[in-house]
Symmetry: C2
Subunit: 418 residues, 2 copies
C-alpha cells in the first residue's frame, strides 16, 4: 500500500467536500448532526462490541487502569456522545455571522464575516469520544475534517466513524466531509503534517509528546492545545476560607486535566494562618504536598519541593507549595514557570487584584475563583474542541467561533483606486 | 562569533522587554513614536549617507532598476517614514480593548480583552522603510520586535535602527524593545525560526522564496503574507464602461503589488462588446495580453495563454485573459488558480453577485470595485503590517488589532467548579 497516495486521497476528498460544506445551509448541517446522534444509539451494540476488542488488546498490552478508563465505552458514555451531537446542533451557526461592517472613504461598503477554515486535521489519542465531538464541531462550523485517532482505539473509532459518516452522507452532507485515517502507520501522521495544499489547520489533542511532535514537524498551521502549569496565589489579604475552598477545588476536583492547579503560592504574612489547616485538609483528600523550606514550617511531614516540581504538570493529586515575600515575587514565579494557561489570585486587595490581572500573561486570569473554570462549557460556549495554549488565532477555550476564519465582503459601485 | 548565542541573546532581550512593554501606558508608547519620527528627520543626512553605500554595492552587484528603486531613500521617502510613525501614534491603542464581556451561569464576570502577542520577528528584504513601519506597529501594539532585514540594505537599516532605537529608549521604552539583526549570516534566520521559547510569531515580508522558506522551516508560528493571484470576472450583465475602468485600474495602477489583477475572466456573451475596446486600451497602456483561443478572436495579435499564465503572479504589466461560458466556469477557474487573496465580479445581476460573494473563498471578495482596495490604509485601518494570505489568526490586511492576542479576565467571589 502506498501510504502517501492513501493520505493524499483522503485529504483531497476532504478539500473537495469543504467547498460544498462552506455553503451548506444551517438546516442541512443540523439535520445531519441529529441523524448522527440517532445513528450512534441505534448502532450502540456494534460500537460496544468493537470497543471490547480494543479493551482486550489494551489489557493484553499491559496498559494501566487510567488508560483503560479513557478507552472504555458503555451505554452512558455513548448516550453522552449522542447528546453532545444534539447540543452542537442546537448551537447558533457561526458561519455568515457579521463581525464588523463599515463604509470606507471611497464609499465601499465592507462586511467582515465568519467563514469556515476549510479542512481541519485532528490528531488524537485514546479517547473514542473525540471522534464524535471533533466531527460535530467541524461539521457545524462548515469545515471538513480528517480524523486520525490513536491505534489503541482503532476498532471503536472505526465503528463510530462508519456510523456517523453514513448518517452524515444520507442527510445530504457531501462525501468526504468526514475522513477517517483507518491505517495506523505512524508515518501517515508525518505525511499529513506536510499537506499544506489540502489541510488548513491541524489540532493535536493528547499528551505533551504528541503535541510537541506536531508543533515541531508540521508545515500545516497548528493550534497547540493542552499543557497547563497553573498557579493559585493566596495574597496576604485573602479570605482564608474562600482561599481553601478554591485551592481544594482547583487541585482535587479533577486533577488530571490541564486547568487543574499545580503550584500554590502563599504570601508569607498569611502562611501561618492559612497553611496548617489547608495542609490537613489536603492530606485528608489524599494530596501529596511538596513544599519549600518555609512551607515545611507550617505543614509538617511533607516532601521538599525541587525546581522540577515547579516546572512540571503533575496531572495528579500532587501539589507544589511555595511561600513568597510579595505579590511581585508571586508574579515573577508565575512568569518563570507558567504555561500561560490559567492563573488565579485570591485577595481582597483591589490594587493587587488589578495588578495581577494586568501583569500576568495567560489565556485566563482569575480573581477569587478556581482555575477549573477555563473550559468552553463553563465559559458558556456550548462545546469545546480544546483549550489553546498558543497566542495566534485562538487563546483559551475554543468553541465554534475558533473554527472559523473571516472574509471581507466588499460592495462597490465602480470604485477604482486613485 | 557564536551565531546561536548571538541570536538567542537578542531574542532573550526582546522577550524581557515584552514583559515591560505589555503594561506601558499609551502615552509612553505614543511619545516614543513621535520622538522616533523626529529623530529620523534630524538624523536624515547620516541615513542617506548609509543608503548611498547600499546603493553603490547594489549597482556593483548588477542589481536591476526595480531593485535599486526599492532600496533607495531620499528626503521625501524619509519624511514619509517619519509621517508614518506619527500616523501610528495617532491611532487608537488596541491594548486593553474589550472584545466581549458577559456573566456565566456561576456568576463569574468575564472580559475578553486584547493583549500584546509578545515578541514578533519580522524577516524582510530590500525595503528599508519596513524597519520603521514594522517597529512602529509592534511598539504601538505593545510587542517587542526582532528585525532581520535583507543584507542589501544593511547599512541603511542599521543607521535607521540606531536612530529610532535611541529615541525609543530615551522616551522610556524598555531596552530590547526593538532588536536588530546586524549580522547578515543567513544561518541566523534558520536559528531564529526555531526560537519558540522566545519568539511568539514570525512575519516574513518579501518575495515568494523568502515566504516559502519561513513557512516550511519555522517551528515558531508564522503569518504568511503576500502572494496574490487575483482575478476580475466580467459577467454577461456587466456595465462595460465600469468593467473597463476597474480592469485597467486593477491591472495598471500598480502592477507589482499583490492586490493587482493577474487574470481577467470574461463571460462569452459580453466578450464581443467588451474585449475589442479594452484590448486597444490595455495595449495603449503597455500591457502585454496573453489570451485563450476565444479571446484572440476579439483582441488580435496577442500571445496564446498557457496553463502557467493562469498559475503565476506576473507582478508586471502582463494580463492573462480567458473567456468563460458561465459564472460557474468563472468560479471553477478561480477555485483552481486563486491564491485566495482578492477576487472581483463586475455585474448588475443580483443573484450572480450574491453567488460570487458567498461561494468564492478569498480574504476579500468584491462586487463592482477594483481588487486594488485590499489594503490596510484603504480599508481604514490606518496602517498595515502586511496582507495575510493564510486563514489562521488574521486574513487580509493586518493592522494593529492583528498584532494582538486576547486574554480572559475573570472576576469571581469565591466560585468553585461543581
Amino acid at each position: 500500500m502506498d501510504i502517501n497516495n492513501y493520505i493524499v486521497t483522503k485529504a483531497k476528498n476532504a478539500k473537495l467536500a469543504a467547498r460544498t460544506l462552506s455553503t451548506c445551509t444551517t438546516n442541512t448541517k443540523n439535520k445531519a448532526l441529529l441523524n448522527m446522534a440517532a445513528a450512534l444509539m441505534s448502532n450502540a451494540q456494534s460500537i460496544l462490541d468493537a470497543n471490547k476488542k480494543d479493551i482486550k488488546n489494551a489489557i493484553n498490552e499491559g496498559k494501566n487502569k487510567a488508560f483503560i478508563d479513557r478507552l472504555s465505552l458503555n451505554n452512558d458514555r455513548l448516550e453522552s456522545m449522542s447528546n453532545g451531537l444534539k447540543d452542537v446542533a442546537s448551537l447558533p451557526d457561526p458561519i455568515g455571522e457579521g463581525i464588523r461592517s463599515w463604509k470606507t472613504e471611497d464609499e465601499l461598503k465592507i462586511n467582515k464575516i465568519r467563514v469556515p477554515l476549510g479542512t481541519i486535521g485532528i490528531i488524537y489519542e485514546a479517547r473514542p469520544n473525540v471522534t464524535v465531538d471533533a466531527a460535530a464541531l467541524c461539521i457545524k462550523s462548515g469545515n471538513s475534517v480528517i480524523l486520525r485517532g490513536g491505534s489503541e482505539a482503532i476498532n471503536s473509532n472505526l465503528e463510530i466513524y462508519n456510523t456517523i459518516y453514513k448518517a452524515a452522507i444520507s442527510s445530504g452532507l457531501p462525501e468526504g466531509c468526514i475522513e477517517f485515517v483507518d491505517n495506523t502507520d505512524r508515518e501517515i501522521v508525518n505525511l499529513l503534517m506536510k499537506l499544506n495544499d489540502y489541510v488548513d489547520v491541524l489540532i493535536p489533542r493528547g499528551g505533551a509528546g504528541l503535541i510537541k511532535n506536531v508543533v515541531n514537524n508540521s508545515t500545516v498551521p497548528v493550534i497547540e492545545t493542552g499543557v497547563g502549569n497553573c498557579h493559585v496565589y493566596v495574597d496576604s489579604d485573602a479570605d482564608t476560607k474562600m482561599a481553601e475552598d478554591i485551592v481544594i477545588n482547583a487541585k482535587t476536583q479533577r486533577p488530571a486535566v490541564c486547568n487543574a492547579m499545580e503550584t500554590l503560592l502563599v504570601h508569607k504574612d498569611i502562611a501561618e494562618k492559612f497553611l496548617p489547616h489547608l495542609g490537613e485538609t489536603l492530606k485528608g483528600l489524599g494530596v501529596e504536598i511538596r513544599g519549600c523550606n518555609e512551607t515545611q514550617k507550617f505543614i509538617p511531614n511533607i516532601i521538599q519541593a525541587t525546581e522540577e516540581d515547579y516546572e512540571i504538570e503533575f496531572l495528579d493529586l500532587i501539589l507544589a507549595v511555595k511561600i513568597v515575600d510579595s505579590l511581585d515575587d508571586a508574579m515573577n514565579h508565575i512568569y518563570k514557570y507558567s504555561s500561560k494557561h490559567s492563573e488565579a489570585i485570591i485577595t481582597n486587595n483591589y490594587l493587587n487584584s488589578q495588578r495581577f490581572l494586568n501583569e500576568v500573561d495567560a489565556a485566563a486570569v482569575y480573581v477569587n475563583a478556581s482555575t477549573r473554570f477555563t473550559d468552553g462549557g463553563q465559559f458558556g460556549f456550548g462545546a469545546e474542541i480544546g483549550i489553546s495554549t498558543q497566542k495566534l488565532h485562538a487563546r483559551g477555550p475554543m468553541g465554534l467561533n475558533e473554527l472559523t476564519t473571516t472574509k471581507y465582503v466588499v460592495y462597490g459601485n465602480g470604485q477604482v483606486r486613485k
